[in-house]
Assembly symmetry: C2
Homo-oligomer: 115 residues x 2
C-alpha cells in the first residue's frame, strides 16, 4: 500500500506552484507535455521533470499516442491526501465546538463577576 510514503510525495508535489498549475490544467482534461509547457517560461525538460514528480506521487498517469505522451489526473493520490485532510477538518470542527463551550462558560463567569 505504501500510503505513508505516497503522502510524502503527494503533498510535496503540491507544494510547487508550477505543479499545481499543471494539475489545474489537467483538471480540464488530458494534455500533452508541450501543451502543458506552453503557459510557462520554463524549458520542456523542466516540465517533463515536474510531470515525473507528479507521476511518482500517483497524481498523474500517462498514455501513449504516437510520439505523444498525454497526461491525465489520477485518482489514487488525490484521494489519499483528501482522506488525510478530512481527519484534520473533522478535528477542527470538534475543537471549534469545544471552544464555543469554553467561550460560553467564560461569558457566564464574566456576568457573575459583574453582578
Amino acid at each position: 500500500m505504501e500510503i505513508g510514503l505516497n503522502l510524502d510525495a503527494a503533498f510535496s508535489a503540491l507544494s510547487d506552484p508550477t505543479r499545481r498549475a499543471i494539475l489545474a490544467r489537467l483538471a480540464e482534461g488530458e494534455a500533452t507535455v508541450m501543451e502543458l509547457a506552453a503557459p510557462f517560461e520554463m524549458t520542456q525538460p523542466a516540465i517533463s521533470q515536474h510531470l515525473k514528480v507528479l507521476e511518482d506521487a500517483g497524481l498523474v498517469v500517462r498514455r501513449i499516442e504516437g510520439t505523444k505522451r498525454p497526461r491525465r489526473l489520477a485518482k489514487a493520490g488525490v484521494e489519499a491526501m483528501d482522506q488525510w485532510l478530512a481527519m484534520l477538518r473533522k478535528a477542527l470542527e470538534k475543537n471549534y465546538d469545544r471552544l464555543d463551550q469554553v467561550l460560553a462558560s467564560m461569558e457566564q463567569q464574566k456576568k457573575g463577576e459583574q453582578q
Copy 2:
C-alpha cells in the same frame, strides 16, 4: 489574501511525516513543545523548527502560558488546502463519468469488430 504563497507553504509543511504526526497529535487537542517532541527521536530544537514551519504555513497557532507555548490547530491553512483539493476531486468525478462513456463506446466497437 496571499493564498498562493500560503498553499506552497501549507502543502510543503504536510510533505514531512514528522509534521503530519504533529498535526495528528494536535487534532486530539492542544499540546506543548515537550509533549509534541516526546514520541520522536529528534531533539527539541528540531521540533521547534518543525512547529515554526507549521505556524508559518498557517496550520498551527500558539498560546502563551508561563514558559509554555501550547500549540493548537489553525483553521485557515487547512481550509485553503481543502478547497484547492476540492477542485481536483470534482474534476476527477467529472472525468470519471467521461471515461465511463469512452469505455462503453469502445466495448460497442469491439463487439462490432468481432461479428
